[in-house]
């Protein structure tokens, strides 16, 4: 018999109660138990950022956090953030600038970019690259992603 733990959390604002295996990480939980497949699984050891989700307001690696650790937490995924239109500007800029090709990295890129946009500090392109350095993209070469984030940041802070 597999031992399980009961957890209660909110996911994109909705209450969820589930039994989980302690070893299940948060992104597997979201994908396999809740069908929220927007968060992707790349490396499962912290280097790619594809699994990024927001926990209690901050973006984290879902593959390095256990689902049991999210007991009592507020979890938000790319699905929730797109639905709430919080990332509408960013989504539009990503499409407008061709900042995604296969889309595998995009949810993690957008969640990370959303956090730095929310902080509202002006950043140059090198600064944006530094902030996104933990998210790997195998398609775009990053240029278009930096373009997209820069355009929203400039709109927000009014600074180039």
């Amino acid at each position: 018999m597999v031992e399980t733990v009961s957890i209660r959390l909110t996911v994109n604002g909705a209450e969820v109660s589930k039994e989980v295996e302690p070893r299940q990480h948060l992104t597997d939980f979201l994908r396999n138990e809740l069908g929220l497949t927007g968060s992707h699984i790349g490396c499962e050891h912290g280097v790619c950022g594809a699994c990024s989700v927001r926990v209690d307001g901050r973006v984290v690696r879902g593959c390095l956090m256990l689902a049991t650790q999210a007991d009592g937490a507020a979890v938000e995924t790319i699905e929730g953030i797109v639905e709430s239109s919080e990332a509408a500007d960013l989504a539009e800029a990503f499409i407008g600038r061709n900042a995604l090709q296969c889309g595998f990295c995009t949810p993690g890129m957008m969640l990370t970019a959303a956090e730095l946009l929310a902080e509202g500090k002006p950043l140059d392109r090198a600064g944006i690259r530094q902030e996104l350095s933990g998210n790997i993209c195998r398609c775009t070469g990053y240029q278009a992603i930096v373009d997209a984030v820069e355009s929203v940041l400039v709109k927000k802070t009014g600074e180039v």
């Binding site: 302690p22 499962e44 912290g46 990024s52 690696r61 593959c63 956090m65 990370t112 902030e131």
Partner: protein
């Protein structure tokens, strides 16, 4: 890869964790930010029977000043250090170095204490703790033990922590007048571990550096103060000569980021630049 099965225990206080140590011995591992431990568990390099989550123990997190001391709780996260005004004004070296630790998503979860106990030779925080003369406070059922950072690090991912101890807080001295510091790091990409790095703290008095505490990291097995650097600096030697002497006596490890001689070469130039930073009071690396 997926982790092998384990038991999960959310510790509400230190006693819960000590109970787990008593029951499971070294089969129980502490889980802090998980940013170093979870990768090894997912890769099944570590297969603990029990993970003891210390994230909910109250009193283990936070940054406080009492007198000239700054106390940092072990589970204080990297982003909290980066955003703290107290750290920016009283521990500017930490404030500068923390920006080099990993990436946003990792900094949001990784902890100061976890970074010290993990003791990666290329990690920034252990080197800063040694340069700043930090004192680590460890607790076990037997009581509290205090140890200086220079005595804590023993080798590659090896420390003086005993298996039944929890690192609870780290004590540092606030920067005072005349204190200068330097931090320089070479890495391929922002947020990566250092290929080589140098950090230092000293007091500047009439164009000389007194009490120089210079540490090279991403190079030797663990961070340590260079005695040669301190004595040459006190006698007023030029940065180029000090850098040469320190680099010569380094014992660099070849790793994926470079071979030993490359690291010695890189260290020499970072040391020279760092000494220039200290002498000119130019701080940011």
């Amino acid at each position: 890869m997926k982790a092998a099965a384990f038991k999960y225990l959310r510790a509400e206080n230190l006693d819960n964790a000590f109970d787990a140590f008593a029951e499971y011995g070294d089969e129980a591992l502490i889980l802090a930010g998980g940013q170093s431990l979870m990768p090894t568990i997912n890769l099944r390099l570590a297969q603990p029977a029990v993970l003891v989550d210390i994230n909910h123990i109250s009193g283990l997190s936070g940054i406080e000043q009492s007198g000239e001391k700054i106390q940092i709780g072990a589970t204080t996260r990297h982003f909290e250090l980066a955003n703290s005004e107290l750290v920016a004004s009283k521990l500017p070296l930490i404030a500068s170095a923390i920006k080099h630790v990993a990436h946003r998503g990792v900094r949001n979860r990784g902890t100061f204490g976890g970074s010290l106990v993990h003791a990666d030779p290329a990690a920034e925080m252990p080197a800063c703790a040694v340069a700043l003369g930090a004192t680590l406070v460890l607790e076990s059922r037997a009581g509290e033990r205090r140890i200086s950072a220079s005595d804590f690090f023993l080798g590659v991912m090896s420390t003086d922590r005993r298996p039944d101890e929890i690192l609870t807080s780290i004590e540092l001295s606030a920067d005072g007048p005349g204190d200068v510091w330097a931090f320089r790091e070479l890495s391929r990409r922002h947020g990566d571990f250092a290929m080589v790095g140098v950090t230092a703290k000293a007091r500047r008095a009439s164009e000389r550096l007194e009490d120089l505490r210079l540490v090279v990291f991403g190079c030797e097995e663990c961070p340590q103060i260079s005695a040669v650097a301190a004595s040459l600096a006190a006698s007023g030697q030029e940065p180029v000569a000090i850098a040469q002497a320190v680099a010569e006596e380094l014992n660099p490890m070849t790793d994926l980021t470079g071979d030993a001689e490359t690291k010695r070469f890189q260290a020499r130039s970072l040391i020279e630049q760092s000494l220039g930073d200290l002498l000119e009071g130019r701080a940011d690396g």
